[in-house]
Symmetry: C2
Subunit: 212 residues, 2 copies
């Protein structure tokens, strides 16, 4: 815990103030693992949210401190004011990246599960945190399979023209070129996908780390 | 951990998906305390950030999982696109409230330290979380004392007309009418302030709770 030399409130007549500070490293030490951003990306229906939740469950059972940000808790809250225009989509991902950074700074393993179809947006999210702290997890799944699953009926509506600029149908998905983890979610079992992500975290020293 | 009956990605030919879910209660059990929002409010220079950091340090030393949101990590990140117009100020507090809610849902004790001068904004922040989970901490300090401290030289600039709509000088501060904790930061020592907040958390069952 760092104690800055000069307190940031100063002294009043009878009160001495000391500025204490809990650092990211302090929180990581308490948690027993590093804070990182696990950034899931992929088409709608590719399994991002399901795998992110399954990874979280596994990590939680191992005593890790985790949180999942996905449409359920972001779209109706923080980003409830945003629509789906190009500008709003960029802002959507920007805010999610900033929130992920805060959680990482809090020493947590934060999992984000959003289509995030544009390389530039994902690159900006990556640049916001130190090297090694952003782990891109690409849920690779053929469009046909996602469309066949169509869990939320979105593809059908997109094909019918009811949803404009739908990723994969009427808007592009830019595949990651160097994702840290690639999951072939139409071929691998959920268990295999979870193991691939957790194995990466283990090898990268995220789980074993005992920060100095 | 709840396991919804129907997985939300469905089945492809050879893959069975199970939707697992880690709840707020699961995370609170892991942490050994409840997640809550500690919302510090008060004039610039009233000690919000210093006390929030001191409370965090004390809680961290007790093994609690904590994070402080203040101007340092919010204004240049998540809210870096916002200025100080009335609309932007409302949006500033709205986003902070949403982020605080996410951290609380993650089982953490999240401390926010912003002037947040308007009752309506604070009331909206409170309404976003269940009753008892929002703890307003009013750092009460006479304007003269804050102005005398003037740590950042803001009051001088506000008096000189260089900063428009500065809270306390040219914009109102609406005092909390029913804050859970009131600190007289010009009279109480930092240690007393910290103890007042931590004592409240103890009495409210935040620290002792072992969620079922």
């Amino acid at each position: 815990m760092k104690k800055p030399a000069s307190p940031d409130v100063g002294k009043s007549s009878n009160v001495v103030w000391h500025a204490g500070h809990v650092s990211r490293a302090d929180r990581e030490r308490l948690n027993g693992h590093r804070g990182v951003v696990l950034w899931f990306t992929g088409l709608s229906g590719s399994g991002k949210s399901t795998i992110a939740n399954a990874v979280e469950l596994r990590l939680h059972q191992q005593g890790c401190h985790t949180y999942v940000c996905d449409g359920d808790n972001i779209r109706h809250g923080l980003n409830g004011d945003l629509g789906f225009s190009p500008t709003d989509r960029v802002e959507n991902i920007r805010r999610i990246a900033e929130v992920a950074k805060l959680f990482m700074d809090a020493g947590m393993i934060i999992l984000t599960a959003f289509i995030s179809p544009y390389r530039a947006d994902r690159a900006r999210a990556r640049e916001r945190v130190p090297p090694g702290d952003f782990i891109e997890v690409y849920c690779r799944c053929p469009l046909e399979v996602c469309e066949q699953r169509d869990v939320k009926g979105m593809y059908r509506r997109a094909r019918a023209g009811e949803i404009k600029e739908f990723t994969g149908i009427s808007a592009p998905y830019e595949e990651p070129e160097a994702a840290e983890v690639v999951l072939n979610t139409h071929q691998q079992s959920q268990e295999e996908c979870v193991e691939a992500v957790v194995g990466y975290l283990r090898r990268a020293g995220v789980l074993a780390a005992k920060p100095a």
